[in-house]
């Protein structure tokens, strides 16, 4: 009972109000600060990008049970598609069409790659397979000649930059869209099927669930959001470089954030993204030489003491009297 509720949270007025309040605060925030001078705007932009990435991985690993280690492949593909279409003159700067094309392109790639991978591989083997995908794509894009810029990558016209404001709002939009998409999927029959597949593939198949189809849906939707983040980040950096955009960091960060916040929950990746981005940024800011030690220690402590992530705090430190717990469960 408790587990299924955790997986399929019911909408309640306090949650919706809290969510709307936070969203409103985030949307209005740029009107109260100097966007060009505020580091908070950059921090939130980065965090929203991380929310999109974490939510994409959460859908694949948290709900369908397929731990992908290849999200950096979709991040890189999203960035490159955006840069290549801009270079070719088909799209422009911060062009929604380019971003959608990048997302769609990565989703198609996820379907094409997912069919053989998800049909044949499970668990650790699937993780290794997706890890290989990222590395293969990095080499392909490094050797891609003029189309991909080879090892030099693609240089975009940085003079197009005007303000941090559109980056902030686009990142917020991606984060919100990712949260809503996961929430809607989880509450739908698809979500139920995904959880069933995650818990027991054989039992799910015996009950008429098309296991491969649902896994691919989750994989493709996860890839779409990851690529949207890659696309926006390409517009931010203006230099799309195979080492940077196919870096394993883009695969590991969403994993850490989701696990830290609470895997298989809608809110967990959001909390994880805020917490981890905050810890990384603060450690980087004040302890530039030893920040990996601080961040690493933080991750170890959380996984040791909060294996279910921050969302598991309530169950671990539930201080209500026993009779109230019993009533609540009942």
């Amino acid at each position: 009972m408790e587990e299924s509720e955790r997986m399929r949270p019911k909408p309640s007025t306090p949650i919706l109000l809290s969510a709307l309040l936070l969203l409103g605060a985030a949307a209005l925030y740029p009107f109260f600060v100097n966007v060009e001078e505020s580091y908070a705007i950059y921090f939130l932009f980065l965090t929203f990008v991380h929310v999109g990435l974490a939510q994409g991985w959460n859908l694949v690993a948290g709900y369908s049970g397929q731990a992908s280690l290849g999200q950096h492949a979709f991040f890189g593909v999203g960035a490159y598609l955006t840069a290549m279409t801009w270079k070719a003159g088909w799209t422009g700067y911060l062009d929604p069409l380019a971003m959608l094309l990048s997302g769609a392109g990565a989703a198609v790639l996820a379907i094409l790659v997912g069919i053989p991978l998800l049909a044949k591989l499970r668990g650790d083997y699937f993780a290794l397979g997706t890890l290989g995908l990222g590395e293969i794509l990095r080499v392909i894009f490094t050797q891609g000649g003029e189309l991909t810029g080879g090892p030099v990558g693609l240089l975009l016209p940085s003079s197009a930059y005007q303000s941090m404001r559109p980056y902030y709002y686009l990142a917020l939009l991606i984060a919100v869209a990712a949260v809503i998409a996961v929430w809607l999927i989880v509450r739908s029959r698809v979500g139920l099927a995904l959880v069933a597949v995650r818990e027991d593939e054989g039992a799910a198949a015996a009950n008429g669930i098309h296991v491969l189809k649902y896994k691919i849906v989750a994989f493709a939707v996860g890839a779409l959001f990851t690529a949207l983040c890659g696309s926006l980040y390409a517009y931010y950096l203006f230099h799309i470089h195979p080492t940077g955009f196919f870096s394993l960091n883009w695969a590991l960060m969403p994993v850490l954030m989701t696990i830290l916040g609470g895997i298989g929950t809608v809110v967990g990746p959001v909390i994880g993204a805020f917490l981890l981005t905050g810890v990384f940024e603060l450690a980087n800011m004040w302890l530039p030489e030893i920040h990996p030690i601080i961040s690493g220690t933080f991750i170890i402590l959380v996984t040791l003491f909060l294996p279910r992530g921050v969302m598991g705090i309530g169950t671990r430190f539930d201080v209500r009297p026993r009779w109230r717990k019993a009533l609540a469960i009942g």
Partner: protein, 408 residues
Amino acid sequence: MRVSSMLSGRWTVFGFALLALMLWFVQPAEARKKKEILIGTNLPLTGILAGVGIEQRWAYQTAVDDVNKAGGIWVKEVGKRMPVRLVVADDASDPGKAAAAVERLIKVKKVDLLLGGFAAPFGVIPGCITAEKYRRYYHTSICLIPPWLEHNFKWSTLFFFDLGQACSVPYEIWNSLPAAERPKKPALIMEDTFDGRAFAGIFRGLAEKYGYTFALDEPWAVGAKDYSAQIIKAKSQGVDAILIFGSDADCITFVRQMKENDLNVKYMHGWKGTWAGEFWKALGKDAEYILCDGFWSMDFPFPGAKELGERYHQKFNKYSVSAGAVYALCQVLWDAIEKAGTLDSAKVRQAVLDNEFNTVMGKVDYDERGVATFVSTASQWRNGKQMTVSPFEWTDYKIKLAPPWNAR
């Protein structure tokens, strides 16, 4: 009921935490009376480039200490001499993190001006782009000129060698040898990366001009660990000289495997990977006779060069062929601030463009594009020290060709 109340509780806590975070960020920076000049830099203190980052940091910090010891920099606008403080942000050898580091330096640390990071794709270009966004002057080096020029930056300047000059160095050295000693079958082994490809193209173009043909021309993968295929191929082709571009770890592996496979070449010249003290430490006597590129030498006949080299050696117990370029970058900046009389980014950059500067690298003069060039050097490892071979006019040392492994 329980789940929703628990979640709403969490949401409230999360919301308050988020608001607190925002408020913390919104707080106006404490009105700071201008007491010092804040110079920010993004350096690779962690990640694959951490080794060079530490060296670069030392050179920057030494220049800061030196100018402070001399009483600071006279800033006319403020009407006094001001000390300089270096603020370092780690870019973790990653382009995304380099951009983040520069964002932090500008927005949180409120630095007045910026000194550049290391390597075009990892630190310098992302740093320049971010500085451009916020119109803060980014005074940099360690970046190939063509990709930097492609961005048409208006808020940065670049001090680096010209690729054509750097790639002509080995040919100039070969042609300075008696005809019988010149390589007959050189090999070109260039790392398959951003910089490696750029170097390879120029080397190929210049080979024809200088009358050489490569017996072997192959890219090599970063961190491949086993280069025996290339080595055996080189041996079968009778290769007698190697021009190699790669990381220090890969170059060390390559030389070890050359010795194991008894590949003897009389001339081996490396770029990027053979100049670090670690190269000598790892290979010891096997590094003898190998040449490395460099930006600078303590043997340069410019004021302060020898002293800087000695201080570096005292600190790290090794020699540097790059510290001077980074130190000179600071010398230019200090002088430009004084000439501009202000810390305004646009005016300091203009002062850099409008003036000539005397440094441990010699005279530095920027063109209208914001580029100043220096001469790329070649040095040969001899008993743990890099002996300057080129430019010929600044050295008395003559290159020694390598004997076979079994004759050393």
